[in-house]
Symmetry: C2
């Protein structure tokens, strides 16, 4: 890469790359403008004109501080684009534009930055999303950990979005596939905790899967992706926002043997483990079978399962019928089991 | 604050505050939803529905890693909102919505987070901008430096934005006031470099000032705010983007005595020092006097000055007539004089 993409022969990010001067400009031109190629970005203004957008606008943001930055199934770049696409999709909207804010530690390998940028560009391209504006800051060595990425995104939707507050008694609760893969995969690579597993993160953009079921939009009362805090946290959030209770059946929840094994070893509950390519749908029971069958036709939803139902019990709680036939309260955790999982 | 705004009696940010669990939720409800109060944010979804927005959309992002986070004239919160408002305004657009992504180091004082949030809320309110979505990540102690803030923003504009590529031969170059205040003010508080000065950062939202001159939009060929890299970098960027040269007169550039003194002491050039509340306008000379006089009526533009003009000389360069009567080339710096100035 040296000498080929950079006139200044450098292998690592220096403070100058975040200066706004010539070296910054070179980085922007050689990495971002090239990889994220589009007219709005190439103008090199401090803003992007993305033109007229009809319908209601959906706006979202997330920062990514995951450790390690490269992991089985993805990297921080792919994750940061998927995460924002998914937050937009969960509203039922079509993701359109993404902004990227990079905070890089001095000494970071330019080769790694190129890998991450390629990964962001490829992920955006696959979902038809354009990365239209960005910003790069560099901090002294030891003042950040390698790289942090913020993405914000704009989507559009005709009519009302799907909110987390719309779940209704009688709704079926459908999860799009195996839960906990991302969490276990990251932990297995975490320094000081390494263990061997064939698991990969499920990191994926869910726009295609949402598109496949969006014809049932009016009967999908709530939808969300179970990231930090896992499906247990998601169910609690939606229960609380909607003022309903949720009953799920442990035996119906798709969990891989490797995830169960790792959880036993580490003393974790898979229902609280992070996912980065799953969604949970609260659908009117009249359409549940059809929604499930549509999801299963998509490779990101092929292991989808109906895991429970919504009831009108108050106060809003989440209950889980265990395989032993007992019922346990699935509460919201106070904190996270592990930091920097996304 | 303890016990009053928080049921869990904590003084500092812990990893749990970034977990997505109960402690996270409490932080979001007690700090952000309360301070940034608006309907879209209060829904607690992972996205904000900001409704229909007419005209062309302007999208921008910036991360803020300034050190120190509290400084004379502002703090990282005010800076992060002003910065994104200004990037939108420079296009001629009206800023509407802002997203906030926080990366906080474990152990950060909750009291400081409240101060910063109040400052963001007040700044947004004054410009009629709503902070509609956000995200909080917490990283282990030593993995980030106190707090980093990303803001992205959406604005709207009827017709075409003002780009950096539109400067034309014959344009007058007008700067809205004293340059270098922000840079010197931050450096004076930088650990290991402290010196005494009465200078304050010029950190300010420029939407009002832009509004005052926007009637001349068609004759304002380019406009930008001189942040990192100062006005020298801005002039070089616009010269290059527009394919023109710029001549400025050193004697006409408003620079405070304190800034000149600090620059002499530190061996710096004030034209490369960061500003956070200034703008540079490239206006058709027919309207330059009127634009200048409108700017001077606004308190953020009262020291505005016509500092030079655009010529058709190529290659695109920036020249500065010194007080000695000589002309020096004002080149783009390779890197920044100091990191983490914004």
């Amino acid at each position: 890469m040296k000498g080929q993409e950079f006139s200044v022969s450098e292998d690592v990010i220096t403070l100058s790359h975040g200066s706004g001067g010539l070296v910054s400009r070179e980085l922007i031109n050689n990495v971002f403008v090239k990889k994220f190629s589009n007219a709005a970005l190439s103008r090199l203004d401090d803003f992007a004109n993305v033109g007229k957008v009809g319908g209601n606008l959906i706006f979202t943001t997330d920062s990514y501080v995951i450790d390690p930055i490269f992991f089985p199934g993805g990297d921080i770049g792919k994750l940061s684009v998927c995460g924002t696409i998914n937050d937009i999709c969960m509203s039922g909207a079509i993701p359109l534009f993404i902004s990227v804010g990079l905070i890089i530690e001095e000494g970071f390998l330019i080769e790694d930055l190129l890998k991450i940028s390629r990964s962001m560009a490829a992920t955006a391209r696959r979902s038809g999303v354009r990365i239209v504006c960005g910003d790069t800051k560099v901090v002294d060595r030891g003042k950040a950990d390698k790289i942090f990425i913020n993405t914000a995104g704009i989507g559009k939707i005709d009519g009302s979005p799907i909110y987390g507050s719309g779940a209704m008694p009688g709704d079926a609760v459908i999860v799009s596939g195996f839960v906990g893969d991302h969490g276990v995969s990251i932990l297995s690579r975490r320094s000081g905790l390494e263990f061997s597993t064939s698991l990969k993160s499920d990191c994926a953009a869910l726009d295609g899967l949402v598109k496949d079921i969006i014809e049932f939009k009016n009967d999908i009362h709530a939808m969300r992706d179970p990231t930090r805090g896992g499906i247990a946290t998601l169910l609690n959030e939606v229960a609380k926002q909607s003022g309903v209770s949720v009953f799920i059946d442990e035996k119906d929840i798709p969990i891989r043997d490797e995830v169960n094994a790792a959880c036993e070893m580490l003393g974790l509950d898979p229902l609280y483990l992070a996912n980065e390519g799953k969604l949970v749908v609260f659908a009117d029971k009249r359409v549940a079978t059809e929604v499930l069958s549509l999801m299963r036709k998509n490779k990101l939803g092929k292991d989808a399962a109906n895991i429970g139902e919504v009831t009108d019990m108050i106060p809003p709680r989440v209950y889980c019928r265990t395989q032993l036939g007992t019922t346990r309260l699935l509460d919201m955790l106070s904190g996270e089991q592990f930091p920097r999982i996304c």
